[in-house]
């Protein structure tokens, strides 16, 4: 079997198209941007070698650390919620819906499909306080919780929460899909054997299905969290990073720096920081899953 699975010609054939495409269009630009981190100014205009100056600037840059802090909060809450809710709802559909599973899954996936700008506008209306109370404020007003009526996206204390809820809503459908695909491919025999042995549903879920879904979990966590680290469209569309910098994210700051402030070199440094965060995280996750498996 190892001969078949170790067939060098086949391996080359399988991996080369993807690797070549990736190298040319993703990796090379990446290295190129990394080279840019040692320059200041704008490519084509006034690009000058600047050595480590851009890197030294990181430490004095207060805005950067504000965005990193915002981002970490976002990653933990949104990332965590998307994974946990995605899994729970997928299980719910699997167990709770016997007919029309496809329809339910399709409908729950709909938010993922909507353009980010449309979703942001809709939530701006939901959170609105002027000229009319939006959905949320109307609800609070109707049930007598007038103290909770506020301009959600305009208040520094609640803007982040407003963003978080919107993003969980938008993307959870995708993780429902991912977990669902994983769940339906789980072998039925282990479940049946366990039932015959008298295991409860809870035991089946925790002791058999979750462990079997480990690769799915690992994969979903990596995808979800790296996406959260890089988040750009939602905060820009919903709050523009405001009020002040309360919802500003590193990628938005990076975009502004690279293009609006004409400091592409420093912007590239910020991208490197995001990359390092993702890399550290992925490494940690890989370790956690490895030790548990004992692979």
């Amino acid at each position: 079997m190892n001969k078949v699975l170790g067939n060098k010609k086949a391996i080359a054939l399988f991996i080369l198209p993807a690797v070549i495409l990736f190298t040319c269009l993703v990796f090379i630009p990446l290295i190129w941007s990394f080279v840019y981190t040692f320059f200041s100014g704008q490519p084509g205009l006034d690009f000058k070698f600047a050595g480590m100056k851009n890197y030294a600037r990181i430490f004095a840059d207060k805005t950067l650390w504000v965005t990193v802090k915002n981002n970490l909060l976002y990653v933990v809450v949104v990332g965590g919620a998307q994974i946990i809710l995605g899994f729970l709802i997928a299980m719910l559909i699997n167990f709770g819906v016997k007919k029309h599973q496809n329809l339910v899954r399709t409908l729950l996936f709909v938010p993922v499909v909507l353009p980010g700008v449309a979703v942001a506008q809709m939530f701006i209306k939901i959170y609105a306080i002027t000229p009319q109370y939006g959905l949320l404020n109307s609800f609070f007003s109707a049930v007598g919780l007038d103290s909770l009526v506020k301009g959600w996206i305009g208040d520094p204390k609640t803007a982040m929460l407003a963003l978080i809820i919107m993003d969980i809503w938008k993307a959870v459908g995708m993780y429902i899909l991912v977990f669902y695909s994983g769940i339906i491919e789980l072998p039925e025999d282990s479940v049946e054997a366990a039932r015959i042995d008298g295991a409860t549903t809870w035991q089946i879920i925790t002791k058999i299905q979750i462990p079997q879904l480990k690769p799915v979990f690992r994969m979903a966590i990596v995808i979800c969290i790296t996406a959260c680290f890089k988040v750009y469209d939602s905060p820009v569309a919903l709050t523009g990073g405001g009020p002040g910098t309360t919802t500003m994210m590193p990628s938005m700051y990076m975009y502004n720096t690279a293009f609006n402030y004409a400091q592409f070199g420093y912007g590239s440094v910020l991208a490197v920081i995001i990359l390092i965060e993702c890399a550290i995280f992925t490494f940690v996750v890989g370790r956690i899953f490895k030790t548990k498996d004992g692979e």
Partner: protein
């Protein structure tokens, strides 16, 4: 006793799912209702108000202003192309990473993973410079290659994750039966993975269909534009936006996505049952 508990838990699930469905669907309905509203209605009236009339003015304006006819065709070509290419490139790679035995497996895995860790905006200048030099700007094939390359990390991660759950025994059995590696992939693994591949295809469709940043950067000729660039046409000066036509344009853009997703989901079911029989 067991039955009544069963019914209670079932009912609770149903209610939960109903709530989730409403939360998920309401926005699409809202979007569609908005496409019938006039500018003032949208800004001033309550979010849940119904439009005064169901005129299709906004749709007509959207189609004409946004140059929708051409944009639609371009979007379809670029998206379909990238969907095809992602299957051709990502599936074999993922299989090799998940199941085959070779020395640099984890290195390549990490290599591809790096692509997922960087915000794409920073690659724009180098990428455009490359494309400009080789003449790939303003070309659909250029966009197709970009969409595929930048989805590789996600697609490969998804597929390897799903591939790992394919039991090795099945592959062993096939090998013992005398299958070559290509036969193993084609006859055994591929049919089992239909479901996951469809997932990847759906995600690929969405990210290509909705991409703005790459098409805005690489394309400057109107006849090559894709749908998202058409959506910019409704921006006025000093922050004013034509909401009616913009939402109508979005509705036009969203519908194929939904239709495709429903279609692909049906396919997934078929793949499911086939897999179950084999499994």
């Amino acid at each position: 006793m067991k039955d009544s508990r069963h019914i209670v838990s079932r009912s609770i699930s149903m209610i939960l799912i109903a709530v989730l469905l409403i939360a998920a669907i309401y926005p699409v309905l809202w979007l569609i209702l908005c496409t019938f509203k006039t500018q003032t209605e949208f800004t001033m009236n309550s979010a849940f108000s119904l439009p005064k009339s169901f005129n299709f003015e906004n749709y007509i304006k959207a189609w004409n202003t946004g140059n929708m006819g051409t944009s639609f065709v371009n979007s379809i070509i670029c998206t379909a192309g990238s969907m095809l290419l992602i299957v051709i490139t990502a599936v074999p790679l993922s299989f090799a990473l998940a199941k085959m035995k070779w020395k640099h497996r984890s290195n390549i895995n990490g290599y591809i993973l790096i692509g997922m860790m960087v915000p794409i905006q920073v690659a724009l200048i180098p990428l455009f410079t490359i494309y400009n030099k080789i003449g790939f700007t303003n070309s659909r094939i250029g966009l197709i290659l970009i969409y595929t390359a930048y989805s590789l990390p996600l697609s490969v991660t998804l597929l390897t994750g799903f591939f790992e759950s394919v039991p090795n025994e099945m592959i062993e059995a096939a090998v013992i039966d005398g299958c070559s590696i290509y036969q193993v992939v084609g006859k055994i693994v591929f049919p089992l993975m239909t479901n996951s591949i469809m997932t990847v295809l759906t995600l690929q469709f969405m990210s290509s269909w909705n991409d703005l940043i790459f098409s805005q950067t690489m394309i400057s000729k109107t006849e090559m534009q894709t749908i998202p660039t058409a959506l910019i046409m409704f921006n006025g000066s000093y922050g004013q936006v034509d909401w009616g036509p913009l939402f109508a344009a979005m509705a036009i853009a969203v519908v194929p996505t939904l239709v495709l997703y429903m279609f692909l989901s049906k396919f997934m079911i078929r793949g499911l049952t086939a897999g179950a029989i084999k499994g």
